[in-house]
């Protein structure tokens, strides 16, 4: 399942990929909270945070340009608000808003780019996320691409039948019909999926092929990076 680029990235074997996913989630949370509480003019902290992220990307062997460009998806939104803040005469705050929201996005990308989603969800369950939500997320992600492909087929079929002509009202109705068909197919597909899973012995829980192990190296990794980030913040 390599429909999403981060899925492909997350299959690597670097030291960052092999860290326990729980350690990576904890470090991400420390990073995000430290960044969120950093004041606008603490540029030394921001530079240290950016350096930590950059070394993470290099250590993980992810394509730096690709990752930074992907994270730039946030920029139109934050640049708009940055421009408004800047026009209100608060230049520092505007710059910090753009910089901080970009760094947060890169940090999240670094986590999902080095951790396959099943392991990430397993770690979240181990950290206390309710089992129902974790199961839901696993089913949702597994069938996201299947159902999206079906939606694509419906769209192509509708275009083949009617093109882009016709009255707006009838095209609106056709789109509603397509969505209803997609809804019904998803519904019946789910019933089939569940019966098939029961037949194969599903017991209400997905299990990981190689179980997570929070080793000494993971503890050192978590402690060292968290300490560095907090020190950079308090300095």
């Amino acid at each position: 399942m390599h429909h999403v680029l981060v899925d492909h990235w997350s299959q690597g074997r670097s030291p960052l990929h092999t860290r326990d996913p729980r350690a990576k989630i904890l470090v991400l949370l420390v990073f995000l909270i430290v960044l969120a509480t950093t004041t606008a003019n603490a540029y030394v902290t921001l530079v240290i945070d950016a350096a930590v992220l950059m070394s993470g990307i290099l250590l993980a062997g992810l394509p730096p340009i690709g990752l930074l460009v992907r994270a730039a998806g946030i920029l139109p939104f934050s640049a708009t608000f940055g421009a408004i803040t800047w026009m209100a005469g608060d230049g520092w705050r505007a710059a910090a808003l753009i910089e901080k929201s970009y760094l947060s996005t890169v940090a999240v990308l670094l986590l999902v780019g080095t951790t396959p989603l099943p392991r990430l969800l397993g770690a979240m369950e181990a950290l206390g996320t309710p089992r129902v939500l974790v199961l839901l997320a696993q089913f949702l992600y597994r069938y996201l691409f299947v159902i999206s492909e079906q939606a694509q087929h419906l769209r192509v079929a509708a275009a083949c039948r009617a093109g882009s002509g016709g009255r707006r009202q009838s095209r609106f109705k056709a789109a509603a019909g397509a969505l209803a068909v997609l809804f019904a197919r998803s519904y019946y597909r789910a019933e089939g999926i569940h019966r098939a899973m029961l037949a194969r012995g599903f017991g209400g829980r997905f299990s990981l092929l190689n179980p997570m192990r929070f080793g000494a190296l993971d503890a050192v990794f978590t402690g060292a990076i968290a300490a560095l980030l907090i020190l950079a913040r308090v300095q």
Partner: protein
């Protein structure tokens, strides 16, 4: 409408994370009773459906198109509590895998779109569904988007994000337009579903489960109040933020003004301690409230 990280002030996202965690926890408990494990694959696939539904465009005129958001449609097909869980999961996947919305701001986004949005979408169906079903479903779709949007706007304003009045008006106008489109899409999809299999859409039951109705009313009131205040004077909300000490420049000294607690050397530590104390307080309150409700229901 997905708020990224670093747009909300720390007390705002902290509070909303705690509130959403409590609300989703209560929902899981509530859904758990009438949600056997067999329904979980269905909910997951319906989440995938809402994701995929964004690919089907609805022509709305002037060369633009809209798409389904889905809170109200889910609420009146699979039920409100499962809909809250499905929307929460969608938002979490969007935040982590697609970087749409922040991780710390996930609580705020869940509160706006999964909790308040779904409840506001379900409330008209619950109250009017038996007599005027079409109107109820349209209003549900309309309210779900409007409430989510105006809550997000209020949270940004209270966090001290500066927005000129014109921009606030424009965004509210856009939200209202999107809300109308969502209402129209929801009702036409429900009409089409009725033709396929009338069993897909729930039969609105007689008023039972007062908690949901009360929660829905609260969500609605919050949304409506936010809409009115924001359209009246965005400055009022920013001043409120400053008065509470959430955003910069507090207007006067309150017991926890500037989030100062204890005699720490560093101002940052002081603020963090006070923030954490507030967070724990709210967490405790939510947990106690949830336990009380659960006890009363099991008694």
């Amino acid at each position: 409408m997905h708020i990224p990280d670093n747009f909300l002030a720390t007390p705002v996202w902290g509070t909303l994370d705690a509130v959403s965690a409590g609300a989703v926890g209560v929902t899981i408990r509530r859904a758990g009773r009438d949600l056997p494990d067999t329904r979980i694959p269905l909910l997951g696939v319906m989440g995938a459906f809402v994701f995929a539904a964004q690919m089907i465009n609805f022509p709305v005129g002037a060369g633009t198109s809209g798409h389904l958001v889905g809170g109200a449609l889910l609420a009146c097909t699979i039920g409100p509590a499962p809909a809250v869980l499905v929307m929460t999961t969608i938002l979490a996947i969007q935040a982590f895998v697609f970087q749409d919305g922040g991780v710390l701001a996930l609580g705020a986004n869940v509160f706006n779109m999964a909790v308040a949005g779904v409840l506001a979408g379900y409330l008209p169906f619950r109250l009017l569904g038996a007599s005027r079903r079409g109107l109820a479903i349209f209003t549900g779709g309309f309210l779900s988007v409007l409430v989510s949007g105006s809550l997000a706007l209020c949270e940004l304003l209270i966090s001290g994000v500066r927005m000129p009045r014109a921009l606030v008006f424009t965004s509210l106008g856009l939200f209202a337009m999107n809300a109308l489109i969502e209402g129209a899409i929801t009702i036409s999809v429900v009409q089409a579903l009725d033709k396929l299999n009338p069993g897909f859409v729930q039969k609105p039951a007689a008023a039972r489960g007062r908690i949901l109705v009360v929660l829905g009313c609260v969500a609605l009131l919050l949304g409506a109040a936010g809409f009115l205040i924001a359209s009246g004077s965005p400055d009022a909300i920013q001043n409120l933020g400053q008065t509470l000490g959430i955003s910069a420049r507090p207007a006067f000294q309150t017991p926890m003004a500037n989030y100062a607690a204890g005699n720490f050397e560093s101002a940052w530590l002081r603020r963090a301690t006070a923030g954490l104390t507030g967070l724990l307080l709210i967490c405790g309150l939510c947990a106690a409230g949830a336990r009380m409700i659960a006890r009363r229901r099991s008694a």
